[in-house]
Symmetry: C2
Subunit: 306 residues, 2 copies
Amino acid sequence: MKLLAVGTVAFDAIETPFGKTDKILGGAATYIGLAASALEAEVGLVSVIGGDFPQGYLDMLTSKNINIDGVEIIKEGKTFFWSGKYHNDLNSRDTLVTELNVLENFDPKIPASFADADVLMLGNLHPAVQLAVLERMSQRPKMVILDTMNFWMDLTWDLLMEVIAKTDVITINDEEARQLSGEYSLVKAAQKIHALGPKFVIIKKGEHGALLFHEGKIFAIPALPLEEVFDPTGAGDTFAGGLAAYITKTGDFSFDNLKNALIVGSAMASFTVEKFGTVRLEDVTKEELKGRINQFRELTTFELTM
Amino acid sequence: MKLLAVGTVAFDAIETPFGKTDKILGGAATYIGLAASALEAEVGLVSVIGGDFPQGYLDMLTSKNINIDGVEIIKEGKTFFWSGKYHNDLNSRDTLVTELNVLENFDPKIPASFADADVLMLGNLHPAVQLAVLERMSQRPKMVILDTMNFWMDLTWDLLMEVIAKTDVITINDEEARQLSGEYSLVKAAQKIHALGPKFVIIKKGEHGALLFHEGKIFAIPALPLEEVFDPTGAGDTFAGGLAAYITKTGDFSFDNLKNALIVGSAMASFTVEKFGTVRLEDVTKEELKGRINQFRELTTFELTM
């Protein structure tokens, strides 16, 4: 099976209580691609970058068997740049700079070899771009996974509703689920979001884990309790990427397998936050991932019978 | 095995977005006792009430095999009264009234039949009272469980440290764990709290569940996702009571059994929040509890192998 992911390939400059970076590699599609690569899923990216994007980063991606035929290079343009500063608790952040640059007129090109991808991951982007990608697939993917955020709810509500209606799985955080549904209870919020289209609703709660809702059933996972979170940037994209890649790799679209995909995505994200940017995710081995999934099992398993 | 619980038996007046009550039955020891009764654990309460406390409430407690020999009645005094109003999200509340009344000079009396209790639950109270109870036991209980809150950290730090040093299990919420330890990371916070005495540290995270820490091991449970939380009052006490009663009933003080106790306490608390005050908890049947524990299993079980 094949996974196509659309999203940003970008520069990030990050400041946390532990230090700061210059412009480093970032972007939703980058994290999704790297998470998929760690799972050895066949993955292609659709994105756009400027002439300022270092060849070395592209080489790193291709060396990891990430197909970048769909990453358009606009020579005279500049790559999307985001800069943010995290507060001391690392649970909130201020955006310092957002330079859309080449992203402003992003017209996504689907590489022929991925137009029939089985799983489509619509990374957090303008819903018009997400819709364009959906329309340009040669056939409807078996599973469409959407990541979005409050920004698009505020600015492009109607377009966002169009994308959501065409989506099988949506991943959003708890505050966004409340905003999208107008319900405080996450159980009720998920019911309303189901009614908008997605059969699977995944609500991300950061350090508190995530919830998966499907046909009245609920699955809950904690986040792995970490001694230190060094840099949360990309954790949500890594989670979505690990999830999408695991589904692609297994070709199993059942609720039970989506549970597994949640664990894998969450385990993967626990690596991303250990260092700045993509550095740690680039290095994850199969053994390490296995170890972290075992930690999940130990963390959540109980034998109670009554 | 026997469980002795010290805490308030009180009047509460509660206002939530769904309605408000006059003075109704409340208090930490009341919730702990009722949770223990639902589990058919042998439980005795140590508390103090005034002459204004209705005989009907006492009769209800004894009808549920809760021993109230340790509940002193001060005829000329008034019962402790708390009144609070919850915000719309039910996650925070304002205290409107706190009348200590007979609690101000509470001198706890341990009934002879429970002075050798195997498990001692020190419900949220002034640490001087908690210490007095500990000292008045005829022998050191096999397990001492402490519930406390930020209020005592602010006002009676040194006394609280004395109690904590004599405690096997402490249950506090996440903000309180951070305040007690000076650490933001809950993993680090638990390490520091272990160093103060308790071998088991339980961190309650409300709608996000709870964490259990013991000798470098961690266990995490989500809260049952509820469509409606009607009144959160007493949820923490019910959790602690269910936990203590399950340990008492099983007589097993191992980490694996404390995991089970966390599930039972959490399942029990999920009933308490369904109606005002103690009403729902008074009615919980074994079958209902079993059902909710099964819900926990469904909520958290996954089959992933990698």
